[in-house]
Amino acid sequence: MTKLMQWLFVLALLGTAWATLALGPLGHHLPLPCQQVLHPFPAYLLVAAGCYSLATVGYRLATFNDCEAAAQELQEQIKEARMDLWRRGLKF
């Protein structure tokens, strides 16, 4: 099962549950506050996902750093490799 199918399956499940509860084709009646919560619930999920992604982008932006130690190590390794190749007679 691909990731797309998983997502579609979950979305279909949630959508069916929401439609069953909110539109009430079975003729049942939820108490009014529950109906009022349920009606805009998909929009609420969407807004929550949007907030999460916005916060993630902001947090990663604020804590973005460059890896000094790793850069140093990489430069060392490049130097070593150059020396090694030069010793074997490779001209740059």
Partner: protein, 84 residues
């Protein structure tokens, strides 16, 4: 390294999204369970707007992204090939 400006913008985004999430959660999830004559209802718009405002905001977002992509592609377009 993230500059001070980057950190400001980043944590500003985090704060904005947190405030938005809390406000929207109270508006959508908690408010229906509070008596309608309570004073807290004055702080929120009527419930009809709770879906239309996000939808309109989303439309504006899509519009903005579309315009942005269009301008970038327009600026980077290759000069037209000479006709052969």
């Amino acid at each position: 390294m993230a500059t001070v400006m980057d950190q400001l913008v980043g944590f500003g985004l985090v704060a904005f999204s947190l405030i938005l999430f809390v406000y929207y959660t109270i508006w959508i999830i908690i408010l229906p369970f509070i008596d309608s004559d309570h004073g807290i209802h004055k702080l929120f718009l009527p419930r009809e707007y709770s879906v239309t405002i996000p939808v309109i905001a989303g439309l504006f977002l899509v519009l903005f992204v579309g315009v942005f992509v269009m301008t970038v592609m327009w600026k980077n377009r290759k000069p037209a090939k000479k006709s052969d």
